[in-house]
Symmetry: C3
Subunit: 164 residues, 3 copies
């Protein structure tokens, strides 16, 4: 099935994220590879939740964080798609067909010091990529728990893809 | 000397790690490069120690953490070797002969807030790669102290290698 | 304008950093890409400030941290330049003309748990790269807040560049 078809089936749409403020961009091509910037889990331009992930009062629940990782990965796809769309003249969702492999995912989880479930949280990102791309979406991954993320985001996800 | 010879001399064997649970894999090839997932310091399938690295009660001693970084790097080699073995039909230890350069190592150390010896800990990984590959194992490296790692692991190591 | 001209105009000089102690190097080439090690904000061989970044007593002020990110990025350029100089026989500052794109910047900010301004801090690195290279210096970027960095450095910056 096409990327467009899979996204439709999943009820997902790619955001048209505003360009980041500053001397950097959401994605850069080098040869057949596209690197994204670290993506925060914006939904309709807003972070639905801020804070650290863990179990306890005042912490972001791991199940919620898993959904945020999925949102961040979707934003990473949007960043790749926007670059491919500029290159090809296609719509982003169609331009993503030129992805031949999701190579690497690095996920940072703003973590309470006692929280060690970063892998589970990042499964939200990994599953999204598999849902959208099938086998081509299966990647190498690092999951890390960090002290804090920009704007108080609970998760940040960057991806590296190979294109044809 | 061959990789097999060096590993024998060092008394090391490559693990045949279980595939990670989830939509990701231990290593992915893209062109001449192989990226590994972040590797934890499993030894015989178990984390020998969990906790944060630092100096003081309840902390993982930096000397122990250095050994764990070595173990994590060995697991990263095993991940590369398993991929190369699937491609070539060789045993993993022999398939690693096709590595022409260890390009980059990124090491995350779950750190007590007062601990700043991450570089020393990561020398455990860097030395292992030099021991196994000689000059070809000399890499660029980033060492970072993080809040927490999956399963409470004290260190996590990912590598990027170039193959022929 | 040339890299040499831009650096002159900015009043900047590339350090000739001592090689890191251990089995790793400041930069590695693989194909057309050069990866640097994570660079600390050494100025004349010394970290001007150590500690965590945040707002409050005993913390490194974000404005200061932004300058440190600029210094770390300059050191990353020096690492790339030194490698290119060894390859070409040119001076480092002239050898940097062969950079055709800064692809990716990853910046780690040793952060107080309440500090969420990592993106602002990393603008120090991003702006430096834009100042030196112009459009070619515009990159993808991840900014992360971590628990601690080697030697107590407030920031660490690694870069990936494409060369001709």
């Amino acid at each position: 099935m096409s990327v467009r078809g899979r996204l439709d089936e999943l009820g997902l749409t790619l955001s048209t994220a505003a360009a980041p403020v500053g001397a950097y961009v959401p994605a850069v091509r080098t040869g057949v590879h596209v690197y994204t910037s670290g993506q925060l889990p914006f939904v309709d331009g807003v972070l639905p939740v801020i804070g650290k992930v863990g179990v306890g009062p005042l912490l972001v629940d791991p199940a919620m964080a898993t959904q945020l990782a999925r949102a961040a990965a979707l934003n990473a796809l949007a960043a790749v798609g926007a670059l491919l769309a500029r290159e090809s003249g296609l719509e982003a969702v169609d331009a993503l067909e030129s992805v031949v492999r999701v190579v690497k995912v690095t996920g940072f989880v703003a973590s309470d010091g006692a929280f060690t479930g970063q892998a589970g949280v990042l499964n939200g990102a990994s599953t999204l990529l598999h849902d959208v791309f099938g086998d081509v979406g299966v990647h190498a991954r690092s999951a890390v728990g960090v002290a804090a993320l920009p704007l108080g985001a609970p998760v940040e996800v960057e991806i590296l893809v190979e294109t044809r």
